[in-house]
Amino acid sequence: MTSFEIAGRALESRLILGTGGFRNLQVMAEAARESGAELATVAMRRVDATARGSLVEVLKEAGLEVLPNTAGCFTAREAVTTARLAREALATDWVKLEVIGDDRTLLPDPAELLVAAEGLVADGFTVLPYTNDDPILARRLEDLGCAAVMPLGSPIGSGMGINNAYNLRLIVEQAGVPVILDAGVGTASDAALAMEEGCDAVLLASAISRAADPPAMARAMRKAIEAGHEAREAGRIPRRTYARASSPEEGMAELAPDAT
């Protein structure tokens, strides 16, 4: 599958893996391998003496680089500080920016998101913002210098799929940076649809990590994303109101003579 670029960096895989929700690191590693992902998002939390997590190493062994996120932040200030801490801890200036506005829906806060994005871009970060499906907000984020836009299909972990394909189409139409569907995917056809609508990639966390069999779902998602992308490239047939015969009308035999 043809690669795409974020901030000048080529990526072969159009599946970005979220690490939340996996039973354990081993299942995560197995799913990561099956997914073919090159990037995996991680959250920043307090060091806990008891639990020594070798998360980053495990991902590295599986061939994935970490993409720190600001999950759990409700203000621009928290998000900016979290991004800076991640840069210190993980030696990367890429950040998946999340600024949440609501505990129950985990939907992004548009105003705080814009403030955080502006601050982080000014501070030299490569910013990938998690946004709602508002085409205007997506353009503002791009105008501020974000390296990609990551609209949701539906709330994080809801598995509802893409609630508003129309808005997603508008975002894709106008975007000058990669569009990565983030959040809401429940199953393979959701991911394929996102790619058919023109997304450059899909970020998947719960859909894989909380599936009954995460590695198997990772494999399915990888194929679905490739299928959706290749189907878009292959040029689908148009939707038609009526049928179109795929069998020749000429050469039809007359098999009921007396019936005529």
Binding site: L55, N69, A71, R77, T81, R87, E88, A89, A183
Partner: protein
């Protein structure tokens, strides 16, 4: 004795305590993959050893964990 808030918990540290000692105390000896915020400001690793802790300061020692979409 000096009392600071270390990852949300009050903690007594020595007079000469620095961020470096705090990080050690919390169980991240080498400090690899770890970052520190002091009263909400990020302190680069290079300054850990020389940054003393004062009474009542908030020290946050973070690292990457599974999470987020």
């Amino acid at each position: 004795m000096t009392v600071v808030t270390l990852n949300g918990e009050p903690r007594e540290v020595g007079e000469a305590a620095t961020i470096e000692s705090a990080v050690r105390a919390i169980g991240a000896p080498d400090g690899r993959g770890v970052a520190v915020a002091l009263d909400g400001e990020v302190i680069p690793r290079g300054e850990w050893a020389t940054t003393a802790l004062r009474e009542g300061q908030q020290v946050e020692v973070l690292h990457a964990v599974q999470g987020g979409s």
